[in-house]
Symmetry: C2
Amino acid sequence: MELWYTEKQTKNHGITTKIKRSVYHDQSEFQTLDIIETAEFGNMLVLDGMVMTTDRDEFVYHEMITHVAMNTHPNPKDVLVVGGGDGGAIREILRYPSVANAVLAEIDGKVIEASQKYFPKIASGLSDPRVNIQVTDGIRHIQENKGTYDVILVDSTEPVGPAVGLFQKPFYEGIYEALKEDGIMVAQTESPWFNQDLIRQVFKDISNTFPITRLYTASIPTYPSGLWSFTVGSKKYDPLQVDESGLQSFDTRYYRPEMHKALFQLPAFVQELLTDKGE
Amino acid sequence: MELWYTEKQTKNHGITTKIKRSVYHDQSEFQTLDIIETAEFGNMLVLDGMVMTTDRDEFVYHEMITHVAMNTHPNPKDVLVVGGGDGGAIREILRYPSVANAVLAEIDGKVIEASQKYFPKIASGLSDPRVNIQVTDGIRHIQENKGTYDVILVDSTEPVGPAVGLFQKPFYEGIYEALKEDGIMVAQTESPWFNQDLIRQVFKDISNTFPITRLYTASIPTYPSGLWSFTVGSKKYDPLQVDESGLQSFDTRYYRPEMHKALFQLPAFVQELLTDKGE
């Protein structure tokens, strides 16, 4: 018997992937959690029926939500991840020797526990002494920590259920306040193919909050359309103005310092989302 | 009743997409041809069970197989497309005022006919007086036309069946001979996620044939993994050495002259395929 997991990524399109077995199933206060072992991508974390990460391609998302901001800021010490309970962004943050305090504000403790058990490579940084895990609402955390962070990464689920507020302007304004005077943020902002209205709105909201706003993309096979966007809001440092030769280099599998500025040369149809045309 | 078309892109993974109806089905001497109307991507051309192009995302593939080489060559007059019977690459080639002669060497006349009928926007250039359509084996065509072309685009199907020879070193050597002394070629070379051995081998073969070899990628949602690679072989002009400010600009939806050099800043795991490590 062959088992296949199919995710409708839109109403009319999706991926289907062969599974060896269901590894874990649970229901938290916030969402349904599943981990399945797939033949192509290894273990796969699925929250409310949407793929969040897999063993095989997790490095793309976790490196790319992290290194663009971390390598743009000259000296990131205090870093916050909102969401990101799997620990992948924390793992990448910890590569920077300047980091003294990496806070994870994840609303669902079950995500953290499941990742530690079934994705040990992704969650590997969570036991580091520099990490402070808080099982809490990220919105509340930023309200209670003004002027605290050098870098904030919004590593959220899709904009449904508990994550809706993480895609709205008041949240970005809160992040602005929670950052130090030269702080920088990055949020995952969905697919340029399937979530164009969201990308337009978030880019506009962040542009109206931060003096510097940029968007870049990365290729993630298990995410809808295979192309994913990230939006930067920055108070002072522009990722396009860094001296690439001075950037820190790590043993990464997707991000390279040589691509740091090239990432912002977007396809024309993505670039068009960032202007106000048609609104 | 809902109909869904599922393509296994690897043995263990694929896409599934809702279809409104089957538009066309035929069997040629070379392959099975299907066109289905999908809810998400419009009409979709499927050859031997593999998605070749769709109304919605065809612009990525056709722009990206064409403009990098065409905009690197300072004055392309004689251009050959091997395969590409849908006409999309020809349409993009014809944007260049310098082009006098655009030859399409497609082995399967049924692909051309089906595209003209069901993909009129993609096939729009095929009736242009500068276009010379030859229903012939591309390998034979290049053998019979030495020193003829400024640019050759290898717009092939997957490396199975009739296209196997289009991924082998003798073919690239033939292309080298069919190019003028400053000619340049581009071949579509599959997914950096799912076809790593092929990319390694082709890059090595083209490197051993041409003095300049480069690889770039583009995001194509209906292709395996959503990320696709293209390999350049060039006798004289290096796409990394062009003066970007002098590049021609068109009303394109993916390619922008500003991304011309940035395209070559590859993800680390793709860059690694281009070295001889492990062989």
